[in-house]
Amino acid sequence: MSLPANRLLCIALLLMVVPAAACASPVTRSLSTAEPAAGEVFTVSLSIEGMTLGGVVETLPAGYAFVATDLADDRALARGQQVAFAVMNDSRITYQVRAPASGSGDITGRWEDFLGESDGQVAASHVAADGIEAPVESGGGDPVPPAAQETGSPFAVLAAVAALLLASGRGGRR
């Protein structure tokens, strides 16, 4: 059984692009604990590599509250469930978050490299107060900036094309 040419092309494209896109993020997140006790303040660390001037916007699950950061006050901004950091030659940024009495969700984030003129997502980190999965009513979401929506990343475009071709390939079999 052989695969149609367009499906092979899609698979080849995805194989080429997915690892590159996954490796391209200059920001990775780690947590002092993924199962904080109710009301515990835990630490979120952002490791930054290859981005000298840029920004990171973190979105916390509902109920979780930003407490403080090791960055100077004029380089961080909190609004609702979101916190923005101005990256200026930093290799690591840490901030503290207070866990709610109960609730779980993902900490998500976006990064922008202003000098490298690129942007992307920070991989999500799951947290659950007391280790108990208890979805909260509304998460913080992960807004996409208008400019990013307009242009779209090459990965997103390729993935969309690949998905469309795969879908059409399946349709053809029926």
Partner: protein
């Protein structure tokens, strides 16, 4: 000018002016307007942008604004960059160059040597556009003609923030282009550089490097260029006048030589040669064939290139250069001149002697004129390093192109 042309021009102006006007507004984020984007101002600008873009905050900094602010902070230490070009005019830049048009292949080549992002060159002159082998990345770019026949509408439609023109050649035509551009779109920065003259090229490299935020790369490239040119100057400096090699340098056309005002004469002199016809009033005088025989040149150099279309980057055609040389050797009376008797007749392509690569060709001249003095000079290696390391093109001189013969 009919009504339709006027309407088209008016539309062009409407399109062109707003796009480039922002280049004059100062650096984004410099809120106190003191022309210095401090670290605190930059941080504030970055947060304002992130807040507006991702967090629902209000703010009017665009993604381009914050990228420009970061660039100015990183490359110009947060200050505007003042550029004095080779026409002596000083221009202040508040943002990086994002849309560049070049009417000069030499400036284009220098930008590439400096690691400028060629994606930001939006249009090039027709000659560079035609160099498919040397400027492959320019094939898809707009063609704005030449300085003698510029496509001004095309330039304005492209909304460049900078246009590169020559400084000291064809000054009247370049002045005219500059005047028309500045009248129609005040935001356009016009830079005048030659990028082919040994006396001014190192300074031009450093100036352009500052403008594009590549000072380190500029120093590296200037050092590479100067190491070759200084080696030639030093090697030729101690040669007594009466021991200098007599050189007949023939331009593309038969019996047409170069005189004092021509760049090729300057390079012949730099390499330690003496041109018996340097005193001519015209840059490229036609000489009496008999006069060449009378001066008895010790070395003959024949130029190939645009007017004698053999060799260069376009092909690997050694036979064509050999035929050119053979034709010279067979000229009436030439069997008696020293250069022919001593087998010192050479062909060189203008690609490596006339433009930004003149240091490579001048190294060949020095080597031909004084093989012992310049035994350690390797023009072929200099050429290959230039292409691989500074031009960043995949071009193997061992199997591609023909630039000198034999």
């Amino acid at each position: 000018m009919n009504q339709r042309c006027l309407l088209a021009l008016a539309l062009l102006l409407i399109v062109a002016v707003p796009a480039s006007a922002s280049a004059m507004d100062g650096t984004p984020g410099d809120v106190d307007g003191d022309r210095v984007l401090t670290s605190a101002e930059y941080a504030s600008a970055a947060l304002t942008y992130l807040d507006a873009a991702y967090m629902g905050g209000a703010g009017d900094l665009t993604r381009t604004d914050i990228r420009d602010a970061a660039w100015v902070s990183a490359h110009w230490d947060g200050r505007p960059c003042e550029i004095t070009d080779s026409s002596g005019r000083t221009t202040t830049l508040y943002r990086p160059l994002r849309r560049v048009v070049t009417f000069s292949g030499e400036s284009l080549e220098t930008l590439r040597s400096l690691g400028f992002d060629m994606e930001k060159v939006v249009a090039v002159d027709k000659y560079s556009h035609g160099k498919k082998t040397f400027f492959p990345e320019c094939q898809g770019k707009a063609n704005v003609g030449s300085i003698w026949s510029p496509d001004m509408e095309q330039v304005l439609i492209l909304r460049p923030d900078a246009v590169f023109l020559y400084a000291t050649i064809s000054t009247a035509t370049c002045d005219d282009i500059q005047k028309r551009l500045e009248a129609s779109s005040p935001g356009i920065r016009v830079f005048r550089f030659d990028c082919f003259k040994p006396a001014t090229y190192p300074g031009e490299i450093r100036t352009i490097a500052s403008a594009v935020g590549q000072k380190e790369r500029g120093e590296e490239f200037a050092a590479f260029y100067e190491s070759t040119m200084n080696r030639i100057r030093d090697g030729a400096a101690g040669i007594p006048d009466d021991e200098r090699v007599r050189v007949y340098f023939e331009y593309w056309f038969d019996y047409t030589t170069v005189a004092a005002g021509a760049g090729y004469n300057e390079k012949t002199r730099l390499a330690g040669g003496v041109n018996p016809f340097a005193t001519g009033t015209a840059e490229y005088p036609v000489v009496d064939p008999e006069a060449i025989i009378v001066t008895d040149p010790e070395v003959v150099v024949k130029l190939a290139g645009q007017g004698l279309a053999v060799g260069g980057y376009a092909g690997h055609d050694i036979a064509a250069l050999d035929a050119t040389r053979a034709g010279m050797l067979g000229r009436p009376g030439w069997s008696g001149i020293s250069a022919v008797k001593d087998d010192r007749v050479y062909v060189i392509h203008s690609d490596i002697l006339g433009g930004a690569q003149h240091f490579i060709g001048t190294a060949y001249l020095a080597k031909w004129f004084y093989p012992d003095r310049f035994a350690d000079l390797d023009p072929h290696a200099v050429h290959q390093r230039y292409l691989s390391e500074f031009q960043g093109i995949d071009f193997d001189l061992a199997s591609e192109g023909t630039f000198v013969y034999p």
